[in-house]
Amino acid sequence: MRRKIVFIKKYDYGKGVFDLGEYVISYATSCSLGCEYCYLQFAKTPREPVIYENLEVLEQELKELFLKEEERNFYFNLGETTDSFLSQNHIEIIDRIGERISFFAERYNKRVFLELRTKTDNILKFSSLNKKKNLFYIYGISLLPEETIINFEKNTASLESRIESIKKAQELSYLIGLRFEPIIIYPVFGITYEEVINSLKNIIINYQEIFFKIFKILDVSRLHSISFGALRLTKKQYKYLKEKKSKLAFFEMVLAPDKKYRYSRPLRVYIYQELIKSLKEIFGNKIIERIYLATEFPYIWKACNLPLKLITGFIDI
């Protein structure tokens, strides 16, 4: 299919949210994984996954972008409008996109990071991507507790398989992006203050277990970054989920300045602070240099003692 609008867009973070400086390439849309919180269900996209073949338009956009922007490093997210590893066809088109990016990156002396974000373990069975000049692939694996995956991400890979897939990505020389997004407050033990606190403590324990599992298999020299991002819902999504009686329509959610429903500030800050503390205990203090908050406000970064940092500034290669 031909894409009729632009391929490359600056990521739209929302009003007041810290701009990480990432671009999105919409080479495909829709996803069959069926995650309950996914914005794609509410976007005007085709029902079935579609791949856009008119890469000559993308080439032109790349050329213009590299000529216009003075920065040397670029970060493209290839998992925003679809899952990057949804099918073998997705990987094949990504390989073709990579060829074009590499060509222009070399010509204009740029360094490009391509994040392939996934909730699958398809890297274990799909053919691998060829290495290219001036181009670094990042395997952005979304990680959540198994109970959350079972309840809200029905057609995706299990946590164990996702962790297994990190090993494979390392073997294939990908950089690794650990994406703890979205962080969902689940299970919820009740509606009182004490029950909410207990629910949060339980979530932190669940994530600590994931950190320990990753610690055993991760080659830290290949780690690009670690991101945390709590669940965000558009007004439309929140209304829909509430009517559907989904447990994602949590009661302590506020309409934040970006017009998205988010867990209230004390909850978000507590979760981020505790997870960062746990990572430091397991991986050492230097891990802080690899952590960023996805789609959060600068005052939340500050509350978590994280310096604001562009996504292109995470690794020195």
Binding site: I191, K247, E252, V254, R265, Y299
Partner: protein, 99 residues
């Protein structure tokens, strides 16, 4: 009788909808509380305030506690703001950034 504004009534309705997802008995709990408030020896506006405050604390168990502590400060009620822009930064930052 108790007095509630239109937006308060809408908020209460939505709160029952959302909380019933996690606690199916919420409607009867709220009805019991409402009956108790109606019996209080207060005017209907005060009764409305007490009832709404009860609902708000159910809907926002954490946030409502924070706002109670911060009631003397003029700050956005959703706590979504940069404390550095307020003169009383040091006094509030630990309250808004902790459980």
């Amino acid at each position: 009788m108790i007095h509630l504004t239109f937006s308060q009534k809408r908020f209460i309705k939505e709160t029952i909808e959302v909380l019933s997802i996690f606690y199916p008995e919420i409607e009867s709990l709220i009805k019991e509380k409402l009956a108790a408030i109606k019996k209080l020896d207060k005017n209907r506006f005060r009764k409305g305030e007490i009832f709404f405050s009860f609902i708000f604390s159910l809907r926002y168990p954490i946030l409502s506690r924070k706002l109670a502590i911060l009631k003397n400060y003029k700050i956005p009620q959703d706590l979504e703001f940069d404390e550095d822009n307020f003169p009383f930064r040091e006094e509030i930052k630990n309250i808004i950034n902790q459980l």
